[in-house]
Subunit: 316 residues, 2 copies
């Protein structure tokens, strides 16, 4: 009899989950709110109820090998979510144990970007690769690193915080970490918005973006303006790609990946961001690395990717 | 009967080699010039002659398990040295094959910093660690990265060029690579000298260093002046430590090592450089990494370390 795994992707706003077969098909999936659960126990109860329905559809709990979970600051060694700023639960949450006790199934947890990297390695753009880096460019910047065919967890399980590496010393201040000039302050949806505001302030050149109230300015609006040929909007993406390319060059000189897989909202800007990124990546590499590394955009369906990635932890 | 391995460390000026037992004792060692051999074949011939003498002392070729070689731009996958700017041989040198044919023994090659990392893992400060980064601060900056207990080679064998990561965008130009603002331009013996020259030029404050002709200024002289309390000389190390600490923070947020092992000439400056390095490392880390990572100085005898590291490739 076939067996299946469950993938759960816990995000700040919502949690997605689904049943996955051993070739990466998401058979059934659903989602629920994370935010409304101030208590972890009520979150677990609702997840149990909703997941049980899906599990029954594939023949019951006996068919399930285990549950893979991706969550911000999820730690594979301890099975705990530790001090995740975007989740409603404070401190250290022993989520793997709580799920294990409730579902009576094996549970593996890692952070969401690591889970996505495993998903890419098993079903996506990194299939067959042993050395690659996965970067998610969303509200923030997440990352998962694979070297020698294995996720790099580091001694404490927290490796791969590439969004927090410093790219511009004494640069833009990060609102949460107080760091100055880290990648996330530039190459995220939030960073794009901040760059747009800066460029608008620092010149009086005309721009479609000037018609938009500051509190409605976001990366999508900037993308639309750039597509209409707006010079300032295009500059925003050039600048973002410049910073991202420089950062990627540093990552390449660290672990020499075969490819860097980009994922998340900002990749929708396509060549607007990818072209300057590639250019500045190559410009900052020393010769032995030039014209070798592929920059790929994940082709997994966004709604499935998170679930697939988490579930893949159980096949790993 | 005990068996032994040979370690060979090929440097731009000289090559060191020795016979090592399985607990890391260098039983016999010697060295020869690299520089004088414009042809790789005469280099191999002299190495064979000199090494044979040592091998006879431990009972002949039958006792030797193999030869481990560390060399700049040495590639473990191909057994070749590729475009090493500091060696007399141009292009791609199939050194592993040449040695194998000559000695009729298994040969493993990697770059010198990777070899040093293996040496530290087997016999040195990183004994028992599964996640650490080795950084050599000499004329240049080399590095070897260990994650999940394995050297990170990358898809092409060239991972770990941390000396070439960009720390100060648009910063100091590197004389060989033309990169601007890479770590090696600051945190090397050469970088220290350049910083001293800059600081002397940019002020007219008194300094012991002003008595020294520019072409005799080097990191050792700056160290001696700093030890005598010279303010500018101390500032040179503060600045060097600041850049190094910032770079190390980025490396920690990449692979979350248990320790960073420092090695090479600059570490002799002790707390002059280590104190600002530690300070700026911590200041640039996000919270989950703070006060966790050890900064250790290699305690292997410098003359042995290179041979041990190379030989350890054969026990690996």
């Amino acid at each position: 009899m076939d067996s299946f795994v469950v993938g759960v992707d816990i995000g700040g706003t919502g949690t997605k989950f689904g049943i996955v077969d051993n070739v990466g098909n998401v058979l059934f999936s659903s989602e629920m709110s994370t935010k409304k659960h101030e208590q972890i126990n009520t979150f677990i109860d609702e997840l149990y109820e909703k997941l049980s329905e899906l599990i029954e559809k594939v023949g019951g709990f006996g068919r399930i090998k285990g549950i893979g979970v991706g969550a911000p600051n999820g730690n594979i060694y301890t099975g705990t979510i530790e001090y995740a700023p975007n989740l409603p639960w404070r401190g250290i949450v022993p989520i793997a144990k709580l799920l294990q006790d409730k579902f009576k199934l094996p549970v593996r947890l890692t952070n969401d970007a690591n889970a996505a990297a495993v998903g890419e390695m098993m079903y996506g753009a990194a299939k067959g690769m042993k050395d690659f880096i996965m970067i998610t460019l969303g509200t923030g910047v997440g990352s998962g690193i694979v070297a020698n065919g294995q996720l790099v967890y580091g001694h404490d399980g927290f490796a791969g915080e590439l969004g927090h590496t410093i790219i511009i010393p004494e640069g833009r201040q990060h609102p949460n970490t107080d760091q100055k000039g880290c990648l996330e302050s530039y190459a995220s949806a939030t960073g794009v918005t901040m760059t747009a505001i800066e460029l608008l302030k620092n010149s009086d050149r005309p721009s479609l973006l000037r018609d938009i109230p500051l509190d409605q300015l976001n990366s999508k609006v900037v993308f639309e303006a750039a597509n209409k040929g707006d010079e300032i909007a295009k500059e925003v993406f050039d600048f973002t790609g410049k910073i991202l390319g420089m950062a990627l060059a540093n990552f390449v000189m660290f672990s020499s990946p075969e490819a860097i897989i980009l994922f998340g909202g900002l990749t929708k800007a396509g060549d607007l961001i990818l072209k300057p990124t590639r250019e500045h990546l190559e410009a900052n590499l020393i010769e032995i690395f030039q014209n070798k590394v592929k920059i790929l955009v994940s082709h997994l369906k966004e709604s499935d990717a998170a679930i697939l990635g988490a579930s893949a932890l159980m096949w790993e």
